[in-house]
Amino acid sequence: MKARTIRRHFRESLKSLSRNGWMSFASISAVTVTLLLVGVFAIIMLNLNNTASSVEEDVEVKVLINIIEDEQQLKAAEDKLIQQVKSISGVAEARYSSKDEELNLLIEKLGEEFKLYEQSNPLRSAIYVKAEDPLEILTISEKIRKLENVHSVVDGKDTVENLFGFLETARNIGLVLILGLLFTVIFLISNTIRITIIARKDEIEIMKLVGATNSFVRIPFLLEGIWIGILGSIIPMIAVSVAYHNIYDALAPRLKGQLLQLLEVSPLIWQVNGLMIILGIFIGLWGSFMSVRKFLKA
């Protein structure tokens, strides 16, 4: 193909965008609506996912060890128990915390008056256990319970189950939303394509009549699809960026220390913008491809 022809295709694709003003506007709007939905959705899902994985990472159980008066016997029992816990399959980490360390934690949490107990510490030493797969934590705590010298296991069974239940539900809702979104998008785009096909039928027919090859017919359409994709992603990129910036500035300080944490504006916004423009170009290309394909077959 000659360079002149490539330039001609570029020029033609831009001219045709403006010639088919309303049609282009409709296509660009369909892409815009789609990408807005995708962008908002991507931001929600990425944040939710981030929260979910950081919460999951934090899930741990606390194993309280029996009190044994003899220091040496206690030490031996503790060492043995740590070894046993570590050897349970699926355990990622078993961190020992002596009863003095436990008391310090308590004082830190509840206040100076607990320093009283420094004379005679009534607390038990403990082991903090994390699982490789947070969902396994309850199975692991069941196993630990059966070990020797274990006084009790604090696994916050209800909390963990509630949390996992919530995350599971959130992800499932996300999935349903993705599917719903997909159908909306396909409906929007295919409708636009159908109208475009009808509008361009004659044009393609005449091009073929005067001896245009299939690629000569197709290329300006594909380029036009790319422009539509790019133009359609401008508003969503700006809107999502500005909105997330504002939401982040308003909410992030208030969420300090909370379960839900917002992802930093950058790089999140660049990733989502990138996703939107690539998706926009892809949708535009796909739409154009589908709309010419039918007529090039004949």
């Binding site: 193909m1 000659k2 002149r4 022809t5 001609r8 010639r19 088919n20 004659d202 044009e203 027919e205 005449i206 091009m207 073929k208 009549l209 005067v210 001896g211 245009a212 090859t213 299939n214 000569f216």
Partner: protein
């Protein structure tokens, strides 16, 4: 050169539109294709530019058997032919100049050549002064002249027309016929399906009459031969 041998065409709905057609049209001839409505004239013409493929038989255009042609060779065939329709088939959003230039852009002709050739053919059809207008700003006769200009701009050996005067009043029809005669005088073969009795009986040429998908008559300088 156009040559058909035992051409048979059955549409998917079962209609047989060509039932054993054999014909030879020499380079430089002017041929009318006449016959009742539904006789198979358009089908006959469509098989020449590979818009329809015959079910069996051979169609040979300029020495090439186009029935054996692959799909990607059809553009090449179309560039060697000019085609004109009753409904002009102009692109409404392109100017007169652009509509004609289109046929040359497709074959990646140099812009200077395009400009020169387009001017020549617009001059031939007498519409050079309206080249910046849109088709909607022209009369039917003028639109048909533009469509003829487009069909001859790449200097084809053959021009095929399916009822080119079908939508025009007598005055414009005669105007169009003058242009076709001029094109023919320059050596181009013209094949024209028509219902226009006046024209066929006045400008005497070879007349091929098709009835029920078969050639019923084929007479040099013949008359239209149907009532009305």
């Amino acid at each position: 050169m156009i040559s058909m041998k035992d051409v048979y065409k059955k549409y998917p709905n079962g209609v047989v539109a060509a039932n054993g057609i054999s014909v030879d049209i020499r380079q430089g001839e002017f041929v009318y294709v006449v016959g009742p409505s539904g006789a198979g004239k358009s089908t006959f013409i469509k098989m020449m530019y590979s818009e329809e493929k015959p079910t069996s038989g051979d169609v040979i255009i300029n020495g090439k058997n186009i029935t054996k042609m692959k799909r990607n060779q059809i553009p090449q065939l179309r560039r060697e032919l000019g085609v004109v329709f009753q409904d002009f088939k102009l692109l409404p959003k392109l100017s007169v100049f652009e509509n004609v230039a289109f046929a040359l852009e497709v074959i990646e002709e140099h812009p200077k050549v395009i400009k020169k050739r387009v001017m020549e053919v617009l001059d031939l059809v007498g519409l050079k002064h309206k080249m910046r207008m849109l088709p909607s700003e022209l009369s039917g006769g003028e639109q048909q002249r533009i469509s003829i200009a487009r069909s001859i701009v790449n200097v084809p050996k053959i021009v095929i027309a399916d009822e080119p005067t079908g939508n025009l009043d007598p005055e414009n029809s005669w105007e169009i016929m003058k242009i076709f005669e001029e094109i023919n005088t320059r050596g181009t073969t013209v094949v024209m399906a028509t219902h226009n009795r006046e024209i066929v009986n006045t400008i005497r040429k070879r007349v091929i009459a098709i009835e029920g998908g078969m050639i019923a008559r084929d007479i040099d300088g013949g008359d239209y031969g149907y009532e009305g």
